[in-house]
Amino acid sequence: MIAFKGVSYSYLPGSTILDDVSLLIGDGELVAILGENGAGKTTLVKHINGLLKPSKGTVLINGKDTRESTVASTAKSVGLVFQNPDHQLFAETVEKELSFALTNFGFSPEESQERVNWAMREFSLEGYRERPPFMLSGGERKRLALASVLCYGPSIVILDEPTTGQDSGQKDRLATLLKKLNGEGKTVIIVTHDMEFVADFIPRTVLLSGGRVLADGATAEILARKELLDRASLVPPQLIDVCWSLGVQPSLQLDEVARNVERLVGGERH
């Protein structure tokens, strides 16, 4: 359970990055934090794993105030995967990279080994055990960075801009992974400005703009409201744009939109 109560955050006096943010994310939810660049999304999620502490208000993770714990102890239950894998990878071998977090969080050598083996199978990295991370391809490094965070089993997983530069096939695979993690009971949060991905795969959206929460609710509802999207400086997802252009009922379901348009065309025929 993640609870933000009236959280404000300023790095320098006079510039507020988060402004009175209140938010509740229950266990096992799948949520998108959506907003343009500079809206405060990354700052918000850094409060969840304790990297940042609020200037005002409180952040409670599973009931504990983040100000009363170290980053390391909060991070043990909150995995944050950063956008650029190269900002994380440093070890001599893939195996050592995967065990880094496990060692830091105090897992026994036997359990570490088990989890490393699991991660390598799960993320198709078998055969790379002794290879230096830098020799892997871009996609493999991304998988490795993800694996090295998931292998210590955090109950909350946050991914920062996971779809940047990804092609459609990779995004589909990412969506499958997120559903799988969510299916295992993990709370999954993605930080993004990718309207299409959120529209296609994420049920709940928290819309952020200028450090404030503009809206929080069902994706299908929020992404269909023009005035909200305008305020957040976002373009609508393609299907919504089609619906608006044709004057049909906005929907994120392709079948429904297609049917409505067919009806429109059929109707206009007569």
Binding site: N37, G138, G165, D167, G169, S245, L246, L254, V261, V265
Partner: protein, 279 residues
């Protein structure tokens, strides 16, 4: 005569036994707007670097076939000469902008060409105004947003008055509004100045309506090269793992049932096509 030609282009990076691109044949005429897309890692970036001579002149490796720019093969010309004809914009503006003011950034290329100052200034002003960023001239690049930075990169290349502008996923790190803004500028420059634009993009719904040709790379080869209304509606698209724009998906259904006469590439085109169905 085409401005760029590639014949049988095959290239492997120095430490790689496998070619990144194989047997690529391609031509570009002056004034075209060519959209290049395809799954990640299929040779698009490599191809872009072949167009201004970075490959093979700076990268080495094994280069077979020919790339001809304005009649000269790229293997026989230094990069600094080819760069004046073919401008290349990269993915990450942070690694592209290295001066402390926008003005100096835009002037950098012309300074390299030893242009006298009284010609330099107006060219810088022209490039800034063409891209619509004259108001940013005194700013430092790290004060700018990603979209503004990419516009600076475009201006910096346009200052050299290239015949072709090649952009390798320039909107990858940008949010949708900045991405749309950059693509708008490219469209305008292509239309008004006749500069050939070769754009590598994943955001097909934004770029396809403006392109007159769509080229698909897969597995290091070009598998399709035709107008977007043909390529995006082809059956192969699904199997290639490329995201088909939602407009196309909706329109395809209507076409299958014979309810549409055209192949729209944007919401507006779909809306016009639907209205056009009314007697």
């Amino acid at each position: 005569m085409p401005i760029i030609e590639a014949h049988g282009l095959t290239y492997s990076y120095p430490d790689s036994p496998v070619p990144s691109i194989a047997d690529v044949n391609f031509t570009a005429e002056q004034g075209e707007f060519i959209l290049i897309t395809g799954p990640s890692g299929c040779g698009k970036t490599t191809f872009c670097r072949c167009l201004n001579g970075l490959i093979p002149n700076s990268y080495g490796g094994t280069f077979q076939g020919k790339v001809i720019v304005e009649g000269s093969p790229t293997t026989k010309r230094p990069v600094y000469e080819l760069a004046q004809k073919v401008g290349l914009v990269f993915q990450n503006p942070e690694n592209e902008l290295f001066c402390t003011s926008v003005e100096r950034e835009v002037a950098f290329g012309l300074e390299n060409l030893a242009m006298p100052r009284d010609e330099l200034r107006p060219r810088v002003d022209e490039a800034l105004s063409l891209v619509g960023i004259s108001h940013l001239r005194d700013k430092s690049p790290d004060e700018l947003s990603g979209g503004e930075q990419q516009k600076v990169a475009v201006a910096a290349l346009l200052a050299m008055k290239p015949r072709v502008l090649v952009l390798d996923e320039p909107t990858a790190n940008l949010d949708p509004m900045s991405a749309a803004s950059v693509i708008d500028i490219l469209t305008r420059i292509n239309r008004e100045s006749g500069v050939t634009v070769i754009l590598v993009e994943h955001r097909l719904e934004m770029a396809a309506p403006h392109a007159n040709r769509c080229v698909i790379f897969s597995g290091g080869k070009i598998v399709q090269d035709a107008p977007p209304s043909e390529v995006l509606y082809s059956d192969e698209m699904e199997s290639l793992g490329i995201g088909i724009p939602k407009v196309v998906q909706v329109a395809k259904r209507l076409l299958r049932e014979g309810r549409l006469a055209r192949r729209p590439l944007s919401s507006k085109e779909l809306s016009d096509a639907v209205r056009g169905c009314c007697p």
